[in-house]
């Protein structure tokens, strides 16, 4: 597949290609007049075509990883990230590149009318090149999405592990969300650290906000309990919902070594009793 004529064609009919390409984009499947202004679209298209022409002049159209293509790829990456933020779907973003095929190939056909063999050869080369560039937008799109997910996960990790002091010698850890190994180790560390800082003998781990408890999560919980015990603090697990209690028994998870309570209130009551406190209701004496 050769694309020897591509730079020449671009040079000769750039204005016409741009015109048809922009028209194509505004009317075609990927058109999103609600998201991008016509002027902006034209500007981006023109910029891309300029870079594309410069890169194509290097003659290396088989491999877009070569340095000659770097500016074009960079521009594509910028445009893709921008469009992702604007709300374009991945296929709409890829269509930006793919829609260039039709006007470009029309020019090739017109240019090489006398030599059909060469026209087919040239078309195939251009088509393969644009396919690669189109797929590159998808790659960038996905990478930027993954970046967002990763950042959110990190934020979640930091937000979701508060250890609160309930009373002298009692701390509580309300767990919210799914527990995985990474989160559990953060949770475990911050709980143990707080136990040392506050000199607490009792830690209440509340799992009301944990949607599912499987064997792995239970194992993580038991590890935390064992580590706290080694330091000299007792753990009470509270907030086990009825469905979760059923699942745990079906999975043969043995929690007999740990004190478990249905609610945080019950757990606090037990903790207060163990530390020698008593909660008494005020009796109002009637005159």
């Amino acid at each position: 597949m050769s694309t020897i004529r591509l730079p020449e064609i671009l040079q000769k009919a750039k204005a016409q290609i741009l015109e048809e390409w922009v028209k194509q984009q505004m009317s075609g499947a990927g058109a999103r007049a609600d998201l991008i202004k016509d002027g902006e679209l034209r500007k981006q298209s023109e910029e891309f075509l300029n870079n594309f022409q410069r890169s194509a002049q290097s003659g290396e159209t088989e491999n877009i990883q070569l340095p000659a293509w770097a500016p074009t790829l960079e521009l594509i990456a910028d445009l893709t990230r921008q469009r992702e933020r604007m709300g374009f779907s991945p296929s709409e973003t890829a269509l930006f590149i793919f829609s260039l095929k039709e006007p470009l190939l029309a020019q090739v056909r017109a240019e090489l009318k006398k030599d059909p063999e060469a026209a087919i050869e040239e078309s195939m080369g251009i088509s393969a090149l644009l396919d690669k560039l189109g797929l590159y937008t998808t790659e960038i799109y996905q990478a930027s999405r993954e970046e967002v997910i990763r950042r959110q996960q990190e934020e979640l990790l930091e937000l979701s592990t508060p250890v609160v002091k309930m009373w002298d010698g009692i701390v509580a850890l309300p767990l919210i969300g799914t527990l995985d190994s990474a989160r559990t180790s953060v949770v475990m560390e911050s709980l143990l650290q707080r136990i040392v800082e506050t000199g607490s003998e009792i830690a209440i781990i509340d799992i009301t906000g944990v949607p599912t408890v499987d064997t792995l999560v239970a194992q993580h919980l038991l590890k935390t309990v064992a580590a706290a015990r080694l330091m000299g603090a007792d753990c009470i697990i509270s907030g086990i919902r009825p469905q979760i209690a059923q699942t745990m028994v079906h999975l043969a998870i043995d929690l007999s070594a740990v004190t478990t309570k249905a609610t945080m209130a019950e757990a606090l009551k037990t903790a207060l009793a163990r530390t020698g406190h008593r909660v008494v209701k005020d009796v109002v004496l009637k005159a």
């Binding site: 143990l192 000199g199 003998e201 706290a228 080694l230 330091m231 000299g232």
Partner: protein, 117 residues
């Protein structure tokens, strides 16, 4: 001369404070010394303070467990106090949750636990 960990004798209890890095020979020496001291003094409780211990391996963990079981045979309770969070996590990850051992947060609480009965 081999270095040893000093064992303090306080009324009915034996007090051990580990302030150096435990190596295997030292741990075994401590196990030896403690058992003979318990039988010599008739102590009813052993308190091991490991708050300055920053590293443990599976061997040390096992020795701690053994000391506790041995002193129980000699009718003395063992309390390990002041374990650092990192040490606790390491032991649990090693699968050594030392089920037979008593623990407390600090020396005061450990003494309270020992003298409870």
């Amino acid at each position: 001369m081999q270095d040893r960990i000093p064992i303090l004798h306080m009324s009915n209890f034996l007090l051990v404070t580990i302030q150096v890095d435990m190596h295997d020979r030292l741990a075994l020496q401590l196990q030896d010394d403690l058992t003979s001291k318990i039988s010599a003094t008739g102590a009813r409780g052993v308190l091991i303070d490991i708050s300055s211990l920053e590293m443990v391996d599976s061997f040390i963990g096992r020795v701690l467990g053994n000391i506790s079981s041995m002193s129980r045979v000699l009718d003395a309770k063992t309390v390990v106090v002041g374990m650092q969070p990192a040490v606790a996590i390491t032991l649990v990850e090693l699968g050594l949750s030392l089920p037979g051992i008593l623990t407390a947060l600090n020396v005061a609480k450990g003494m309270e636990l020992l003298s409870r009965d």
